[in-house]
Symmetry: C2
Subunit: 483 residues, 2 copies
Amino acid sequence: MIAPNVLKKIREIVASDHYHDSLEHRIAYSYDGTPLISQLPDAVVLPRSVEDVSALLKFANEERFGVVPRGSGSGLSGGSIPGENTIVLVFTGWNRILEIDRANMTMWVEPGVITSQVHKAAEESGLFYPPDPGSMNICTLGGNVAENAGGLRGLKYGVTKNYVMGMEVVLPTGDVPFSGGKSMKDVAGYSLKDWLIGSEGTLGVFTRILLKLVPPPQEARTLAAYYNSVGDAAETVSAIIAAHVVPATLEFLDNTTIRCVEEYANLGLPVTAGAMLLIEVDGRKEEVAEDSIQVREIAESHKAKQVLVSKTVLEADRLKAARRSAFAALARLRPTTILEDVTVPRSEVAVMVESIRRSAAKHGLTIGTFGHAGDGNLHPTCLIDERDTDEVSRAENAFEEIFREAIRLGGTITGEHGVGLAKKKFLPLQVGNAGIEMMRKIKESLDPNDVLNPGKIISTKPRCEGILPRTRDQIQRFEGAYI
Amino acid sequence: MIAPNVLKKIREIVASDHYHDSLEHRIAYSYDGTPLISQLPDAVVLPRSVEDVSALLKFANEERFGVVPRGSGSGLSGGSIPGENTIVLVFTGWNRILEIDRANMTMWVEPGVITSQVHKAAEESGLFYPPDPGSMNICTLGGNVAENAGGLRGLKYGVTKNYVMGMEVVLPTGDVPFSGGKSMKDVAGYSLKDWLIGSEGTLGVFTRILLKLVPPPQEARTLAAYYNSVGDAAETVSAIIAAHVVPATLEFLDNTTIRCVEEYANLGLPVTAGAMLLIEVDGRKEEVAEDSIQVREIAESHKAKQVLVSKTVLEADRLKAARRSAFAALARLRPTTILEDVTVPRSEVAVMVESIRRSAAKHGLTIGTFGHAGDGNLHPTCLIDERDTDEVSRAENAFEEIFREAIRLGGTITGEHGVGLAKKKFLPLQVGNAGIEMMRKIKESLDPNDVLNPGKIISTKPRCEGILPRTRDQIQRFEGAYI
């Protein structure tokens, strides 16, 4: 616990109505979107200004407590879960769009703005902000940048880092440099902003973010294709890419996911299909017309049983609903949903999907797999009851196999969710000791007292290990806290 | 000087035929494409393998000498110029294309491969590698990655960092991590590759590079537009962007450059024009047709005196020759060519060009300005005689004004050439003390003995300050070394 006199000083820094340490507040910020792990912070702070953030970090260095920045807490790797001796900094109130510059096609935002609000504001200015993480209606831009969030449009448009031009950032020491700007090219020294994007809140706290916008596509069309086998769907993906068609989205759903979605949303999906592809092509009018014909032909020549092409926006929305509701549909089955995001080179998607299916069968688990097939980014989603310690343990074993297989195929343990707490154990398998050592040196040089989001990605201090699997016992203890 | 016994050991590490310390060899590697600065290394080494590079860096840490990696040496910021007590590592022999993977659209290369060879190999596989720095026929990929090189196609296609998916790298300590891979998305820990791209050879030596390729555009068309005033040309640029046309290239030449090019290449350019825009649109057939009509209309409605549209590839090449020969044409005028690359937000191009013109007049200098107007990336090119110390000093004063103006306009002192030795002095103006401090901490943490490309970007040790302005005296001394 942080000492009471230290907490008192923290309260003084931000003014008392921006400081909370009631159990209710602490519980509300003890978890994020990640299942199985949670931990109580010592206090919850709503900073009012850059100066507050800087002062808190300077004080954290003096008193050696941890500071965990967070937005909506929709993360899926435990990146915003507090550790011992930490306070949480909440940025959801920093939700303003500060400027839209049409001439330079940029937008200044505060880190707590909701991603779909950025989409809306860009659209209203006749522009387009492409990154669209699955959680875009609730997640915050600061979190997107911290995790380098991906989304459905990654194949054609890239991920968050491709749209961050600059930032004001508070470093662990409390310094406030500014990095980047509205220039399209900038190679003046190490690119601090590129170092901070994807650093999962461990190297700096973003206080303002400059986004790049692009001209919107003129049109879009959505296609759905159903297959008997995953292999046929995967071959369609390869053939689309080989034909040099670059769809905006190229999504995959396996049979388990299709069945759950149909039961949940009654969209009329064929529940016996082994796999489904959902493809959106966008761009100029002619491009969309040409590409949708070509995609349809490729799908049909790769044994698609049925191909549907949207004729209206309403029809497109109906088709896309299948993919957008996949997580919610699967999550209904069991109390606990573990959504993973292994990613492999595009050519290995079929091998990876089959390997996930084998691991699920071997460990007696239900795993539905959907995801961004065009990027090789898959979301095997395991449905368990976290109170069943045996099932939790089987799920952990299955995912270890899945992560090892992804690495063997030249892929990664995480394509868009980050390492956080949940995947620390597996990171050395992928990046090796030299990689971990380099990350550790960088963290230590910028945050020598390990005050900023301690215990994440690479553990530098045991006190912040922070993973608390919620076993039945622990949950009872946790629930007891409400009484 | 590095002690003779240490040089002997270096020679033993790489075998004697890969080691040179004759004055001829040392002079050949004492400079790069940057005017006014040069310095002799103590030895020149051609490493044979990753193991050689690693062993040399480990030994450099033991004996505290500097190691300066380089390719063709076409850099324009002094990034590959040796310092005192340094050896140069030459990678031009590492020029193989190791793999082209069509399914995943990737290419593995060695760092010494020439950029235009990458273009050619991609094209032969039906694919496209967009980054096209002006020096693409002589520069090496390793240097492109180290400097995060840009090029003419930056506006539509981005810069080198957008096309680097992974790398094998030797760190200053001699460790050899691998970062990235063929997955389109990867957020497993800090992205080492993104930290190393643009680090100008100060944080790691690339030994293999994995490039991303894309489908090639189906067609391209080139337009040239001539104007009375720079302002009209700049307004055309803004109007093209506002119309959501994204040309592959959108190049600008001022009157000084037009006159020099015409004198040099006899292309029939109107030498009285105040400015010229050179625009290439590419993509689908219909897109190219639509965009070229729209660009033509926009140019004409913004007071273009004449607009030419290429009908054949030959005509397009003729138009593009004006831009491609700008540097050579200007360089003929005087003995010394200082090619700079200030970059500003696109909306500030006209203001910046006018400001450059004023600084040239004020200091009695000839400065021709051309560059990537669509990116706001300008190349004011100052023509002097480096033996005239007064003229050198006036040029330095003019560029200081130009850099300060770029920063004032929200721009950068370098859009694509890097800081190296040449712009160290100005970096703090742009990134501030907190920015410099962060860069310094990172350099010190990864390279505690300052062995890798010492003295560049941020000076960590005075011994490697390394800027030797070639005054008349120094040149005489330098030339004396030949005798």
